[in-house]
Amino acid sequence: MGLFILRRTGVMILTALCLTFVVFFMTNLYPNLEKLAKTQGNFRMSDEAVASFLESNGYLQPVAIKYAQWLGVAPGWVREADDGLRGRCVRGTVSAEEMADAPRFCGILQGNWGYSTVFKDDVGSLVSLRLGLTGKLMFFVLILMVPMALIVGVLAGMREGSVTDRSLSTFSIATTATPEYVSGVIFIAVFASSAVGLRWFKGTATAAMENATFENFFLPVLTISLYGMGYIARMTRASMTEVMTAQYIRTARLKGVSFPNIVMKHALRNALIAPFTVIMLQFPWLLNGVVIVETLFNYKGFGWLLVQAAGNNDIELLLAVSVVSVIVVLVTQLISDIGYVFLNPRIRIS
């Protein structure tokens, strides 16, 4: 088991390295750098001005060296400017003494996530702030989605082929067929717009960042949960129908155990093994939903940050965002594998 986790962690680190290098490479292509220079300076910069801006900010070094600097395994660049020194590990132009005091290596290994060119702020603090806000959103999504999906799945799988089963299955197919940008738009139209007049909820969740109430937070949470719910419900239904045809359930029925008792005490525990894995594997999908819903409802969390970073080619912010999302994806996969073994004693990893 220990060896298994160790190997998986190794693969995880390798994957993260490859992915960040791809992101690094794509964001450092020259047209992207040119766009970055123009958004930093002004849009009517000449080609020479762009080149000198990029040169003086260390963007024109070879990609591999820049990547090593970002990682913190190569010393940060230092350039001589008109009135002092500029470098990767210092902000702005500084004197030679200050440069000597600054650390030579400053990459993510040293805990330095870099500087966001869009928000003019430290990437580390930005990401952790936004991640906290998205964490709040995800927490409520899980609270709503998981019980709802399990109840729908168990009810549908209890008696295969019944009317309840048919209608609940169609309902879960319908939810998987509705992407967030469709259901979100429909919800806003019905529950939040003045044209219909219900106005039960707020159409934006900006206020929910400080003060989440049922009124301003329910629609985004519902929108994300519905899309993810259908899939978990279908998995739960499939595993529930399988369990309900098992020998020991038949034995229990023949012994005269009541139907609610069979479902609650005999079937449920075994039926919930498969959905557990699926719930964990839903996290990467939820991440997509988060980006769409945060844009739609103007909730400034992690997904919103991703859109801002990618839209403005904010290299270091984008890298930090991708590192975080890759780690989320891979860690949930790992937890799902380990949890599966713990829940299902018939499987042993050798």
């Binding site: 994957t15 292509l29 067929a177 806003i188 139209a189 997509n288």
Partner: protein, 397 residues
């Protein structure tokens, strides 16, 4: 003129869709009459859920086709008519010209364009791209997944690692990295197209070669003919005069794909193929332990013959079902791209872009955003129901 009532609007929309209804009735009548001879497709007519799904899908397919033949649209989807900005459904035109449709059936959007015509035109974007992109993703997934599952070992480890690498990317981040004007300028999507689009040629080449390997007199001309045509299409597809990949001179270049469409197409194929790869790999690993594969090995068949003519046909059930689901997922992805304003030009009538435009005024005007939203919903729902029906019917035998 008076604006139309809701009953009028629905009646007139029903009338506009008349070619679609006729085509649907003809299709259903012919298929129902011959359903015993049509295999899995015929069996679909025994499952009500699958039939509803199939009806929804074909509705949008016919809408896309007839919309392009200009049988459904009431106005030009791009033309702006003064005085129609954000007007509610059923508004009459102020002074309609000769032979012009006198109403905006579903109202005007914020640039005074007809919402109904844009919705119909948007169907064509999806009908054009989604099935083809899914097919390409399947070609890539099958060509790589079969050997990975059949041989296993180092090849499998490497390919699986690459697939997981792509799958670990959040899709939207990938889109933002691939589908921006700056990246298009560098030609990265063109190079990716060059790599991805070669897989169908490899697939067909290996497929035919392994089948007719023992009849060289028949195989050689067949391969030269088929591969020659495919190679020409491939080269005209990837090469474009003025783009980084320009191998064919303009005269022999059969057709040009607009840059935006190509990028969208490539990125959707790229996102979909790792999942297909994983499914095919799993199926191949399962099927290669069967007796008929062992029998073929004993007969001395080559590995590619076993993969493509023994394993693949026996994996078709799950693959067909997944194909339907995946077209739906591709439709959702196309909508996501439009929603974030990536790839397709801003005036494009595709559903994602129109939803994105409409949502900005959602608290006051509902009519520009809701028709494309329901259109997308019904198409994807149809594909999911169809897949469900197919799965049930294919499990029966």
């Amino acid at each position: 003129m008076e604006p139309l009532t809701w009953a009028d609007i629905i009646g007139r929309m029903f009338w506009q869709f008349m070619p679609v209804w006729i085509a649907l009735i003809v299709l259903f009548a012919v298929s129902a009459a011959f359903k015993r001879k049509l295999g899995l497709y015929g069996k679909l007519y025994d499952s009500p859920i699958g039939l509803i799904g199939f009806g929804l899908v074909m509705f949008w397919v016919f809408t896309g086709i007839f919309g392009q033949l200009d049988l459904i649209m009431t106005h030009d989807p791009l033309s702006q008519v003064s005085g129609m900005k954000n007007e509610p459904p059923g508004t009459a035109m102020r002074n309609p010209g000769e032979g012009e449709y006198a109403y905006y059936l579903l109202g005007g959007d914020n640039l005074a364009r007809d919402v109904f015509s844009r919705m119909v035109d948007g169907a064509w974007v999806v009908v054009q791209i989604a099935p083809l992109a899914t097919l390409f993703a399947f070609m890539v997934g099958i060509t790589l997944g079969l050997p990975a599952g059949y041989y296993g070992g180092k090849l499998d480890t490497l390919l699986s690692f690459l697939a997981n690498l792509i799958l670990a990317f959040p899709v939207i981040l990938l889109f933002y990295l691939l589908v921006t004007p700056e990246i298009v300028e560098t030609g990265v999507p063109n190079y990716m197209a060059t790599v991805l689009f070669i897989f169908p040629i490899i697939f067909v080449g290996v497929l035919l070669n392994s089948r007719y390997y023992t009849q060289p007199k028949f195989r050689t001309p067949l391969l030269i003919g088929v591969l020659g045509v495919m190679l020409w299409i491939y080269l005209s597809l990837i090469s474009e005069v003025g783009s980084p990949v320009s191998v064919l001179p303009g005269i022999v270049d059969l057709f040009d794909i607009p840059g935006g469409i190509l990028v969208v197409f490539v990125s959707v194929v790229f996102v979909n193929s790792p999942t297909v790869f994983r499914i095919v790999r799993g199926l191949a690993m399962d099927i290669k332990t069967r007796d008929y594969v062992a029998a073929a090995q004993t007969r001395g068949e080559g590995p590619w013959y076993i993969m493509l003519w023994e394993i693949l046909p026996n994996a078709r059930g799950p693959l067909i079902v997944d194909f339907c689901l995946r077209i739906g997922y591709t439709t959702i992805l196309l909508g996501t791209l439009g929603f974030f304003g990536l790839g397709l030009p801003p005036e494009s009538p595709d559903w994602g872009s129109t939803i994105n435009e409409g949502r900005k005024l959602l608290s006051i005007y509902l009519h520009p955003a809701l028709p494309p939203a329901f259109a997308l919903l019904s198409l994807v729902l149809g594909l999911n129901l169809l897949a469900d029906g197919l799965r049930e019917e294919s499990l029966k035998d």
